[in-house]
Amino acid sequence: MDTEITLRVDGADHRLTVDTRTTVLDALRERLGNTSPKKGCDHGQCGACTVLLDGQRANSCLALAVAHDGAEIVTAAGLATDGELHPMQRSFITHDAFQCGYCTPGQIVSAVAMLQEAAAGWPSAVTFHPADGTDGGADAGPVDLAADPDEIRERMSGNLCRCAAYANMVPAIQEVARS
């Protein structure tokens, strides 16, 4: 069942015909040649396929392309501007925050989105403590990720790393969160 859709990927518009079964991930990789998002589990469990979908991080393997006609997508490849790496990309390199690199584009997109979410005051499961009155600081405003590695670990838990490079990812993200 073919359908014509448009996707704006890393700033460029693409018009393509997709079978209704095509996921955003497969459209990006197989149709548009953007292999930055990776296919890990293909079931929404590993986060290797993470992209920004209309500004929010999402598992592109579970998003049907036909349901996201007209969407604006940013992949890890699109985070760089004018040949300059995004600060999160630079920080991952500086901190040696990867080993094989397969999960890295997803980790980086996820980390960039996480900073936006924390700035918007989004709580995480570890933001709530019964001793603090249980509302997770509903009026506290932005969440300081740099000060709390547990917040980073919780918020990044949707991105798995089989090499277990987590130990260096946390300081890599903290450094960008501080600046």
């Binding site: 069942m1 359908t3 079978d19 209704t20 079964r21 996921t23 293909d42 079931h43 929404g44 986060g47 993470t50 979908l53 929010q56 991080r57 999402a58 598992n59 579970l62 998003a63 049907l64 036909v66 349901a67 996820s110 989105a113 996480m114 979410e117 918007a120 005051g121 989004w122 709580p123 995480s124 499961a125 933001t127 709530f128 019964p130 001793a131 009155g133 249980t134 509302d135 997770g136 509903a138 009026d139 670990r153 919780e154 918020r155 838990s157 949707g158 991105n159």
Partner: protein, 329 residues
């Protein structure tokens, strides 16, 4: 994945009509569970009717002091909403213990309530499963059942309902608003999902084509102090072995009212009414809490691998309510 047609509904009644015409059609929300089940060949819809554009994405205060959550609100937006966090923190907490941010950004409130069990046999079409194929048998009862139900089980199915949100909503007496081929209705959240009985293929009481449009949280002053504790095999991004949603209203050290619901133990979010009844009118002591929890779990029917859930649920109830009692001091 099998081929299917895709249609984007323009309003709730046309979405309902599209489904009513097609017995093999399904509503598509965020798709985080449905698309996965289609990849696994567990779900085989011939038509997907996308309802993300037709159900409300608003969270609004009701005249009676309650809050209405549109069925199209994303799980992330629900958990971040200041009104929800202040008045019903247990709801925000429950949502945030489920899945990952990537999934919560896609997933809707309506879809969260209608997600299917994560019983491994249900998700594996090479095994027998009465929920997937009525009459085929249950592989879990004699198989790996560590994660599965201890309350309200049947000889045909011991699946659990996986939603954290539903557990918190059950504790808050939420009401589910729907529109279907026979018109609109409002269903108490505690009656939305059903026990498996001899028809485990039916997770809930909705008819084919019935669409959840909103969830109403009634006013509950003491819900401002509420907590969701989820116990699982890893600290994050895993389904509950046992979870507890609780809120307590204390006056002069006595329990004036209390709400307790359990997740990970049954085919539906399990409202612990027996424990609640035993707790009202007396002090919230550890001893009374333990006895109330034990009474709630007295009818538990564990399988070979999940008897540990009985003391785990008991202790989780006691600890969660005691934490709230501490906050109240």
């Amino acid at each position: 994945m099998r081929p299917f047609r895709y249609e984007r509904a323009t309003d709730p009644s046309s979405a309902v009509a599209l489904l009513a015409r097609s017995p093999q059609a399904a509503f598509l929300g965020g798709g985080t569970n449905l698309v996965d089940l289609m990849k696994l060949d567990v779900a085989r819809p011939e038509l997907l009717v996308d309802v993300r554009g037709v159900t409300s994405r608003a969270i609004e205060e009701l005249p009676d002091g309650g809050v209405r959550i549109g069925a199209g609100v994303s799980n992330s937006d629900l958990a971040a909403d200041p009104l929800i966090r202040r008045r019903y923190p247990v709801v925000a907490q429950a949502v945030l213990t489920g899945a990952s941010t990537q999934l919560r950004n896609l997933a809707t409130v309506g879809g969260n309530l209608l997600q299917r069990t994560r019983c491994v046999y249900f998700q594996d079409v090479s095994t027998a499963c009465n929920k997937r194929e009525p009459g085929a048998g249950c592989s879990a009862i004699e198989g790996h059942n560590r994660d599965l139900a201890i309350l309200g089980v049947s000889p045909d199915c011991i699946a659990t309902h996986p939603s954290d949100l539903a557990v918190a909503l059950a504790a808050m007496d939420a009401m589910v608003r729907t529109i279907g081929p026979d018109g609109s209705r409002t269903i108490p959240l505690t009656e939305l999902h059903r026990l498996p009985g001899s028809e485990p293929q039916h997770d809930n009481v909705l008819t084919h084509g019935e669409l959840i449009t909103a969830v109403d949280l009634p006013p509950l002053a003491f819900a401002g102090r509420s907590y969701y504790r989820k116990i699982r095999d890893r600290a994050s991004y895993a389904f509950a072995l046992v979870s507890v949603a609780a809120a307590i209203d204390l006056a002069d050290g006595q329990v004036r009212d209390v709400r307790i619901a359990l997740g990970g133990v049954a085919h539906k979010p399990w409202r612990a009414t027996r424990a609640e009844d035993l707790l009202r009118g007396g002090p919230a002591t550890e001893d009374r809490l333990r006895r109330a929890a034990e009474a709630e779990l007295a009818d538990a029917q564990p399988q070979a691998d999940n008897a540990f859930k009985i003391p785990l649920a008991r202790n989780a109830i006691v600890r969660t309510v005691l934490d709230l009692v501490e906050v109240a001091r």
